[in-house]
Symmetry: C2
Subunit: 397 residues, 2 copies
């Protein structure tokens, strides 16, 4: 039975895709700290610290703020499953993969779903949300994707909370690719349910999904007539474990919680405003460089954390990405759905957002595109990026 | 905004509770290897290796063998959610917390649930399963807990598969606390859906749940009339990511997969038979020691991986556990439900199952019990443990 299996040796990649992003050394070190029990008093204290740090990063005082024990889609489903009961009416903005996923999940949890659909890359016009609510259909929930990871589109949220509340509904927001990289003001914007993921702008490995529910959303949980269809994602049960009673629900992903706590500490050590500025600056550098190479931006209203550009005419998308990975150890993302083979998605998230990374990518991409026959002057991309005023700060290591 | 938060410093505990168990250094080192992308060719290869290693440890050739991105209860719910459609009849053996949890989950996924209930600590008699099936109620699924973590009871599974299949049903087995510590022969025993967790006898941090579905169970998935109620736990979607098409479903918990792969390698390097023998031997040592102290075993048919004993008359359960933790850094588990304050649950799982750990616990517990006024001769527990013939092997470090 004894056999020798080769040791695990994953390569050191430069992670500039739609996630995971680069994980700082301090976060990996936290991940490998000694495992303790999920009811150990020391672990319970780490949970308390983690939820307090999460509240700061999410700009909320919501009591129900915690990390769902699964990846980002688990937080998405927990948010929906707990707010939706069979027959509830839900309005979903769909402008990419993740709006569509929210709609699909809401249907599985018994909702009657109405969608506002716009072409991929665009954002949902606020007046269409107002219009749908005004038609008086009694929506319980309105769901929007703040940062559409499939298209790089940046949805306006700041004024939507009031509109949704006047319409008698709750506001659910997907902040997977924005939290800790761009402004997300949970309380000020009137967001009732927010979910995110660890492997994007928090620069922690994937495996946990931070969520936060407002007092209004918690009241909706308490008024439920039917049990949540998923036991594992039942927030009332999960919150009993995170809360004062410490009622056992699941064995928490202990080491992942260590890593998340450390990632949150790094965010707050840098400062939120500083961090958003860093993401903004490196996005502008990247944009100057890519546009100098003739690459067109896809969304009119773009994220600074995830950048979607068109693959130039005549260039083989998959071949370029493969060469970036094999020759330069750089990962960027492919297009999804209608953007398959037509878009590249370049993430500058968390620790991945640095001037050095922008320059490394621009130089490598330029070299490969020239090799693939795309007409480019040598050095044009890096030169354009360097002209952006301001200074690039390195992210946490 | 910049603040100084104290560094994370979890204590080094001796984990002898119901999980997590001690995590070997090699597994923690694997956990902290560089994060790569969830669609990186190197990561896809690691997934393939992991599922191949899982098949060996689960004694199965099932194609659908993978790790659910959540803790053990996520694997439990995935197994149920995918096999149950609204109105399906499900038979569940309930002799502790986890049988009860299976029944609750099956109800949430729309099943009509019938339970066979026996007192906690006992196991489900096979003739009662046969009887329920013979009454011709058209059960689709029979669910049993091989290793009931709340009571230490060891359910007989080996002959149940044939009985269940003759009754036209599928067999679902909870092997959370047995897999890789005791014999679990998925194919030979006719198990159609098996789930486990990483933090028990696999000695990996919590966060993933290995599952395996037989060809029969996969046919049931393919014949479904309704979508699975949980999108996140939809095995057909998850399997498309693990399978040849590599269709994106969720961002895999990359670093946890590294750790699981390393933990599985350690299991196979030791050898399954050798490992089961190690768990058996240390269980016998522990039992001799605890019985010499006058502690009574709870289940008649006991697991070797998790040992449930009665708290002696007049002893304050919580106080003893607190002293073990604070004075000796040893974690053992409390009783749950009807065993609350009345039982201790002592895990000797994976790397935690060693002669040194048994002796350390016996000496510490004896010292504390004497201090608490329990009449005991000094050294009686360790002396009894040492008399067990055979030799204790250390688990992987």
């Amino acid at each position: 039975m004894k056999k020798k299996i080769p040791p695990l040796a994953p390569p050191q990649r430069l992670l500039l895709g739609p996630g995971p992003s680069a994980v700082p050394r301090r976060v990996l070190e936290a991940l490998a700290l000694p495992t303790i029990g999920h009811l150990d008093p020391c672990y319970l204290e780490i949970m308390d610290e983690t939820r307090s740090l999460l509240r700061q990063v999410m700009c909320t005082s919501n009591e129900l703020t915690l990390a769902i024990p699964g990846t980002g889609s688990a937080g998405m489903e927990a948010s929906i499953a707990n707010l939706v009961e069979p027959g509830d009416r839900v309005l979903v903005g769909v402008n990419g993969v993740f709006g569509g996923r929210i709609a699909e999940m809401a249907r599985r949890h018994g909702a009657e779903v109405e969608t506002i659909e716009v072409p991929w890359g665009e954002t949902i016009p606020i007046d269409r949300i107002e219009g749908a609510l005004a038609r008086g259909r009694g929506f319980k929930l309105v769901a929007l994707v703040h940062a559409e990871t499939s298209t790089g589109a940046h949805q306006q949220i700041e004024e939507v909370g009031d509109i949704v509340h006047r319409g008698g509904a709750l506001l659910l927001v997907d902040a997977v690719t924005s939290l800790a990289g761009m402004e997300v003001r949970t309380d000020d914007w009137g967001i009732d349910a927010l979910f995110s993921a660890t492997q994007k702008c928090l620069s922690c490995p994937p495996g946990l999904s931070p969520v936060s529910f407002s007092g209004r959303a918690v009241e909706a949980l308490e008024r439920r007539k039917h049990p949540v269809r998923s036991w594992y994602l039942d927030l009332s049960l999960i919150n009993s474990y995170w809360g004062a009673s410490r009622t056992y629900h699941h064995t928490a992903p202990i080491n992942m919680t260590y890593a998340l706590r450390e990632a949150l500490v790094l965010v707050l050590e840098e400062g939120l405003e500083q961090r958003f500025g860093r993401h903004q600056f490196h996005h502008r550098m990247l944009r100057a460089g890519l546009e100098a190479m003739g690459l067109a931006w896809i969304p009119a209203r773009t994220l600074t954390t995830l950048n979607a550009v068109e693959v130039p005419e005549g260039i083989d998308d998959a071949r370029v990405r493969r060469r970036l990975l094999e020759e330069h150890q750089i990962e960027i993302g492919a297009g999804l759905g209608p953007f398959s083979s037509r878009a590249w998605r370049i993430g500058l998230m968390g620790a991945s957002s640095s001037a050095e990374n922008v320059m490394t990518l621009l130089a490598a991409l330029e070299e490969i595109l020239r090799g693939e026959g795309h007409p480019l002057e040598v050095g044009v991309a890096c030169a354009a990026a360097k002209e952006i005023p301001g200074q690039g700060a390195a992210g946490p290591r």
